[in-house]
Symmetry: C2
Subunit: 205 residues, 2 copies
């Protein structure tokens, strides 16, 4: 039987992580964010700090690695994969393991793409207006206010590229989710309540 | 004081119209869909049937009309606008008039773009998987099953083009909405409940 997994993709500064954490507490199910890194490190042998630094920094395409390194006649050697590909694969394996343990909330790392054929998903995307996100980035995440708009946009661009690259889909496209929420407009508490309603609906079916 | 307007953009076959109608009944506020056409016809002098046929059929760009027809020294003559532009302007005026009367639900016609600076909006987008939409198009809307995928996709492309043209935004981009719902995954009733929760939240603020 498949588990019910809530995946949260979120624009930087939208409060998506906070929403996921509150939601998991309310539903009394595990919440995974940085825990994915720890498990990926443990299982892959890569250092957690290395994974943290490498996350979503695309270096060389997986496909390109395969094409240029796979000369046929043998199985794919993980040592020839780019660093970003190794991190992606380690995290994807960690996400699969965590999802197999039971219902949970997973933030980021294209968990929706990784799990789409394996589990029952509620795919959530959290966004907010740029001004709101910059405010949160400075006040809550402690980012420097200089060039904050540029910083926030650049992180979102990285996330979009990562999603396009590894899951072959447009990150910000509503059609790729079950529920998209503007946290600035709705407020974090209402977002939590709305996702809870949708999750309970999904469990009923 | 601004009114609270729920605008619903919807993929063809997603049941977005039905959701909007149920929602309006539940909230006891008016629901506008084809009513926009009737008012636009009344106010503009264009025939309702003509508007219906012309809707979302882009002919010539508004900007292009202005550039090529406006030779300076006078106000813009509506007679030199393309047919699609005339229909757009007539519908936009109708939408403004309806929104000024009080809280309501408006389906389609880029009402979110028309009203964004004038009213307090809850911008909703309803989508669903292609197979679900084709099923609804055939079973509920009475479309012919031959080439139904192509028909459904073409109508969505028209809607996207219309939105891009008149509101300069990507129709399917989650960042342009406050709430996006996959009606196939969540079910129509849950969609109605979720929008209601968000509307009540918006009214509180």
């Amino acid at each position: 039987m498949k588990n019910h997994i809530i995946t949260i993709s979120r624009q930087y500064g939208s409060g998506g992580r906070k929403i996921g954490k509150q939601l998991a507490e309310k539903l009394n199910i595990p919440f995974y964010d940085k825990e994915v890194i720890d498990l990926a490190a443990k299982e892959s042998g890569l250092a957690a700090d290395f994974i943290r630094g490498q996350e979503q920094q695309l270096t060389q395409s997986l496909l390109f690695s395969i094409v240029t390194n796979f000369t046929g006649g043998g199985s794919l050697n993980p040592n020839v994969l780019s660093l970003s590909d190794q991190v992606y694969l380690a995290e994807a394996n960690a996400i699969r393991q965590l999802a197999e343990q039971g219902d949970c909330v997973i933030v980021g790392r294209c968990a929706d793409g990784v799990l789409e054929k394996e589990q029952e998903l509620l795919r959530v995307y959290v966004c907010a207006d740029l001004s709101e996100r910059c405010k949160r980035a400075v006040e809550e995440y402690g980012d420097k206010p200089d060039n904050i708009q540029k910083t926030v946009k650049e992180i979102d661009k990285q996330r979009a590229r990562y999603c396009q690259h590894y899951c072959d889909r447009a990150w910000e496209d509503a059609d790729n989710y079950d529920l998209c929420l503007n946290s600035g407009k709705l407020g974090l508490d209402a977002c939590v309540n709305i996702i809870q309603t949708a999750y309970e609906q999904m469990k009923k079916e």
